[in-house]
Subunit: 211 residues, 4 copies
């Protein structure tokens, strides 16, 4: 009965993407709920009160960029995946779990960046980020091993594989570094953001160089 | 005027799935709102405070898996349903009501798992789970009785019917067992999760064995 | 340059429906946020505490049914509308405003049904419901006047027109009745629910009888 | 390997729109969470208590109209854009960041319109509005410079360019005016709303006049 499996699979990637997009869109929009509206105080200005909450706003920006980059890469990977099965749905489910958790480490960052829990909050955020990288690596490697990738050149396929193995390992390194030095961790994270903000450029460049 | 009914029906399953996916995506993402960001305390570490909230995190995971598995099975069933009418919309609406309620028993679990209300909270969660199983059974049996299923082999159709009658009855049994023994209830739930996490495998296997 | 207008219109109803579905799905899922998780109290059971919150649960059910029926009718109307313009987007925007407001009168109902503000809360909910009915009437009458309806029999078109003029006027009557008698208002609302839960049945029946 | 870039691009605008629609839908629905359900007080009516919260309701309406108009224009622009790349995704991401932020200045407006922070709250809201206008200008100018616009008449293309340069500059002017006069700022905002609520009418009129 293989065709029955297939008909149900054909519809599958479309709904996986739609459901994932919904989760991404909600998680990214919920971040604002952590920014509290300040109470009115005499003899101060609204701007001075808000600027005292710079840590919340910085955390919001970091959380937003994290989920946006995550969406970009999810979108990039699923543009090549044209089949699915229940294992891929579960790996993607793990990925979505990490995305739905993201508002929590972001809120920890916002609340504790300026006190003694700051470094732990940064490390927890990095752990979240690392699990995302591992999730992407898992999605791609599994989909490739099952032949769920549509026809692309072997060079591009190889460069995507390298790129997401890098995603999983480098983000884990960043997490470990966060226990040693917050500055080094932020520097490495910025480098990583710059690579993963435009996955199709980097993987195409890698593929061309590899020829 | 039967063709008018049909034109409007053709568009219907697409929008039912889109609306349902939205509800699933929001319900699964709202779960994180129940994890409260702890206040800073001197002389403790963030990790020790967070590990004291293990019940919240466990409840989040259970809630997440419940809604994810629910989405997987919803998706699986609607991959076979190609027509709809107002009764099916209502049965699906009942299903969605249970999904939107899920963050509530999850929050009860998170808050009361460690106190004397724990067993009642577990039973309420099981009731939610049982109503989901009954909802799935209702969707499939009604859609089948109305001829809304697209052309699949009688063997597969029969095995899907058996699978979702099992969903409705076994989840109700788990709910009843929860009043007798929490341990037995958790064991049975785990077995059920393993079956319903990959409905297409199980139903295909049943269909093949039935031949 | 009329074709440019048209190309952009062709894409329009699809995105109007997607955006509206998102708003419906979120509004219906946010209702659960108003059900507060009770604090643990010694010497009581969870069930007895929850059953004391029956008004919240009833309000949740009413709010859920209201938004679900609203989605069903939105879906029904847009299955006939194949063009759009900025005025229709605005009328639909008014409709969506009322949908996004719905969690507020629902929360008022939940909190004040059992105190002296109960009747006012019921009337406010009815006002929300009435504005929805007027919104539907506006969407259909405007779309029809502009020729945005795809080819349906004149009989069906007429019966839909009658049905939604009834929606706008009868829901307004229910709102006014709510100031006189809560019981009469609930009775009329139930009748209205039964009609609008299956708009395609009622309008087809009206169309057939009209022949 | 240019075709690989293209295949992934083809799918891209569809998912950008779906993700953006999700963000718009959630942001517009979250606005209601800022309207607090009042506590019961003896010897007052619900209506009198609610009418004392007119500032919250006004802010909700302004926030709703802002996000709705933003959605209309996003939708209008993307009806012409048929390709994408990572830079456009980032510009659109900036746009979405402003949209997700909108509930915050709306809540500031609701809470402080009636106290001494009122003018600052209005200015912050105008800054949000201005960044939206600049975001739209950026999306269009970048997409046009990259040839991502599908075949439209040069006249229409020119008039859209003018319209969104106007959006970016005029909204910035309104923000600056807000520091001088709240009344003038509201007047100019109303004029701007009237133009941007129906972008296709205005740009078509401009295109016709330009001939």
């Amino acid at each position: 009965m293989p065709e029955e499996e297939n008909i149900s699979s054909a519809k599958e990637t479309g709904r996986i993407e739609a459901f994932s997009d919904g989760v991404f869109a909600i998680a990214i929009t919920l971040l604002i709920l952590d920014i509290h509206v300040p109470e009115f105080k005499e003899n101060t200005t609204l701007l001075s009160v808000l600027s005292g909450e710079w840590a919340s706003l910085l955390a919001l920006l970091i959380g937003f960029m994290t989920i946006l980059i995550c969406w970009i890469n999810h979108h990039f990977l699923f543009s090549f995946i044209h089949k699915s099965n229940s294992v891929l749905v579960l790996i993607n489910g793990f990925k979505l779990l990490i995305v739905t958790l993201t508002p929590f480490p972001t809120a920890l960052l916002a609340k504790h960046l300026q006190n003694a829990w700051g470094p732990s909050a940064v490390s927890l955020f990095c752990l979240d980020f690392s699990l995302m990288g591992i999730g992407f690596m898992g999605i791609w490697l599994y989909a490739k091993s099952q032949g769920f990738i549509r026809n692309i050149s072997p060079g591009l396929s190889r460069s995507i594989t390298r790129f997401y193995i890098f995603a999983g390992t480098f983000s884990t390194v960043i997490w470990l570094v966060s226990y040693l030095s917050i500055i080094a961790c932020l520097g490495l994270s910025s480098i990583m953001f710059m690579f993963f903000i435009r996955p199709e450029k980097v993987t195409n460049a890698l593929a061309k160089r590899g020829k």
